[in-house]
């Protein structure tokens, strides 16, 4: 789960990572010392370039600027809140992060003297990379290496990295990024930004104030039901009983020149729960696909659950539906679906992909709509 900067800063506060004084717009304190930086809260990067961070020189300008920022959409993300922070004077901008490297199967501590810009734009030799063994955790020698590399006092960086590690471990983070980490003229350090991603499978341990999430997107609705959904801009909604099977079906549909409106992995819970399956199908329908391709192959669950949901929501509809199903209670499930003229069933994956394309495109060579 990605956190808003505001939430990340609250975690930093909890764990003792120094931050500037800051308030959500509605909670702005009388004691705030101007200038402030008004920062749009969105779950994406590149806010600076997008003009989503604006300096507020005095109190009179706060409302106008905040209202203006709240109208913005950045990389497709609507600005949900405005966070105001006292502006920090600084000599240097550094970069510090701990990320979970899936290939190395361990956390990695990254440091760079080139803070304040996208880390992907920094050349490799300007980034110090220190893998951390999961069974040993952060070690003092690693912090010492960072202090030499960044040419900052060990005492100053030592605590910040310790607290980052504490946060990373206790909150089961996948990423903590401080970019920039401001170094002030007196050597003090302040986290300019806070990018935090938490493992969605665990409960956060710190008790902080979370901003409400907009539950509007298709992805989020699927996630609430217990499935994994991806929205795309083609025609066919593809619903399968697994991530790998989903990607393979997706590839096959595309290789036959079909286009995909949505790809949904039912997930381990939905395949046993007819209500959840019905909810999910309704969500898919709201995307107005031109057709739906189901592909499920069960070794443990019964096909009847998903088939029943399909029959209840899509049976007798005008929307073309192809269901490829295999596994337990296969025949019974087919019988359940075969009564509806808009639903076609098959056992064969390739045929299913061809049939759904055919239903949308008609025979002959497919063309892009």
């Amino acid at each position: 789960m990605k956190l808003y900067e505001y939430e990340g800063k609250r975690l930093f506060e909890n764990y003792g990572i120094p931050i500037a004084k800051g308030w959500l717009w509605q909670q702005l304190s009388e004691e705030a010392r101007y200038p402030l930086m008004a920062k749009s809260q969105v779950l994406t990067g590149g806010r600076g370039k997008a003009g989503a961070i604006v300096e507020v020189t005095d109190r009179s300008k706060v409302v106008l600027i905040a209202q203006d920022l709240l109208k913005k959409t950045i990389r497709g993300h609507k600005v949900s809140h405005v966070y105001l922070e006292e502006k920090i004077d600084y000599d240097r901008e550094l970069y510090l992060s701990i990320i979970l490297d899936r290939n190395k199967k361990r956390p990695v501590l990254l440091a760079s003297g080139k803070g304040g810009i996208d880390i992907e734009a920094v050349s490799r030799q300007d980034i110090l990379t220190i893998p951390i063994h999961p069974l040993m955790g952060l070690q003092a020698y690693m912090k010492r290496k960072v202090s030499y590399f960044l040419q900052v006092e060990f005492r100053k960086i030592d605590e910040i990295i310790d607290h980052m590690w504490q946060l990373f471990s206790d909150e089961q983070a996948e990423l903590i990024e401080i970019n920039p980490l401001f170094v002030q003229s007196n050597g003090e350090m302040v986290a300019g930004d806070a990018k935090v991603i938490i493992d969605g499978h665990t409960k956060p341990s710190a008790n902080i104030d979370y901003l409400p999430r907009q539950k509007g997107s298709f992805e989020e609705k699927c996630s609430d039901i217990g499935a994994v959904g991806v929205e795309l801009d083609g025609n066919i909604a593809v619903i399968t009983s697994g991530a790998g099977l989903g990607m393979a079906t997706f590839d096959l549909v595309c290789s036959k020149r079909g286009t995909v409106r949505a790809l949904v992995d039912l997930g381990g819970h939905v395949i046993h729960d007819v209500n959840a399956a019905e909810e999910l199908i309704k969500e898919v329908r709201r995307l107005s696909p031109k057709g739906i391709l189901f592909n499920f192959y069960f070794q443990v669950a019964s096909c009847k659950v998903t088939a029943t949901a399909i029959a209840n929501i899509l049976g007798g509809d005008s929307l073309p539906v192809v269901v490829r199903l295999r596994g337990i209670d296969q025949e019974e499930s087919e019988n359940l679906l075969s009564v509806f003229p808009n639903i076609e069933t098959t056992h064969d994956l390739e045929k299913a992909c061809e049939r759904i394309n055919f239903k949308l495109e008609g025979p002959g060579i497919a063309h892009h709509r």
Binding site: S97, I99, L100, D101, R102, N103, K105, R106, P107, V108, L110, I119, E120, R124, H133, P134, L135, S169, Q172, E174, L175, I197, D199, H201, T202, V230, L232, T240, S241, G242, A243, G244, L245, M247, A248, F250, D251, L252, C254, S255, G268, Y297, Q299, V300, R326, G327, I328, L349, E350
Partner: protein, 291 residues
């Protein structure tokens, strides 16, 4: 000789008294997988059919000589179950549970490696050598013994492969599902080495996915293999950015797209399939060439 589980394996189910655990126990008993015990802390003394349930893995190891464990318990308890199994001396572990915290996975994976334990998963559909032992969710009725070894991250995609193989009149030696989680134990490369040495395997089907650097490691092994490897990387048509993780982006590993993975495997000598259903044709082409 099957490569991970065998007729002489002594299998236990950790979480045998749960719904899933019980279903697996019943199936294993019905289809002659060598299930020797179950473990559920606090439920020791019960029986599932004729199979004893113990409170600890150590009891199962001492009393029933267990060496292989299938774990199906709530995700937040998985780490404890795995550490207990490793400490008790279990040598093959399948984590069937999904939703295991990734920090737990990191620890388990490193701990297993330090103890030379084969850890499959989390979120693995398991391992099966038909006719010998089935420690997977793949139903015994769709499995036919043969010479094709299958190694895949995805479980569901594996069923598809097995169906394809069956239709071709072939069968499988061993099917290995590595698990779909971002951090998993055993990787493709480990299994490829075993398939190469396994006299019961003559052909390998390799199912990968976009993301991660598995294929770079696999390619090193494939280069040295004499047996044909047919490789499919799921996500060939996946739009970029939609599934790409942040970590990969920062690490800037440019080899994580399907196209680049295909390239790496092709150069190593694998037969690359654009879509999975191309396998039958590729297989007979290869057979013709080899004549």
């Amino acid at each position: 000789m099957p490569i991970i589980v065998k007729e002489e394996s002594k299998v236990i189910i950790q979480g045998i008294t749960g719904n899933v655990g019980r279903a697996f126990a019943n199936r294993m008993i019905q289809y002659n997988t060598p299930l020797v015990a179950g473990v559920t802390p606090g439920k020791g003394g019960q029986y599932i059919q004729s199979i004893p349930v113990y409170n600890s893995v150590e009891e199962a190891v001492v009393l029933a000589h267990a060496d292989t464990s299938f774990i199906s318990i709530p995700p937040k308890f998985v780490k404890q179950a795995v550490l207990e199994a490793i400490d008790a001396g279990i040598k093959v572990i399948v984590i069937y549970s999904e939703g295991v915290p990734i920090h737990d996975s990191m620890e388990m994976v490193h701990y297993a490696k330090a103890h030379q334990v084969l850890l499959f998963g989390p979120n693995s559909a398991g391992v099966v050598s038909p006719g010998k032992a089935n420690v997977s969710d793949i139903h015994d009725t769709i499995l036919k013994q043969g010479k094709v070894g299958v190694v895949s991250r995805s479980g569901t995609l594996t069923y598809e492969v097995i169906e394809m193989i069956n239709k071709m009149g072939l069968g499988v030696s061993t099917v290995v599902c590595l698990g779909g989680d971002p951090v998993i134990g055993v990787q493709h490369a480990d299994i490829l080495q075993r398939f190469e040495k396994d006299p019961e395997t003559d052909t390998v089907i390799y199912i990968g996915e976009i993301g991660g650097n598995d294929e770079m490691l696999s390619a090193e092994i494939i280069k040295q293999m004499t047996k044909p490897v047919f490789a499919y990387i799921a996500g060939m048509y996946a739009p970029e950015g939609k599934r790409m993780g942040h970590a990969g982006a920062i690490i800037r590993n440019s080899s994580e797209t399907a196209a680049q993975k295909q390239q790496i495997l092709k150069e190593a000598g694998a037969v690359v399939l654009d879509v999975l259903v191309d396998f039958p044709r590729s297989y007979s082409d290869k057979a013709v060439i080899n004549k």
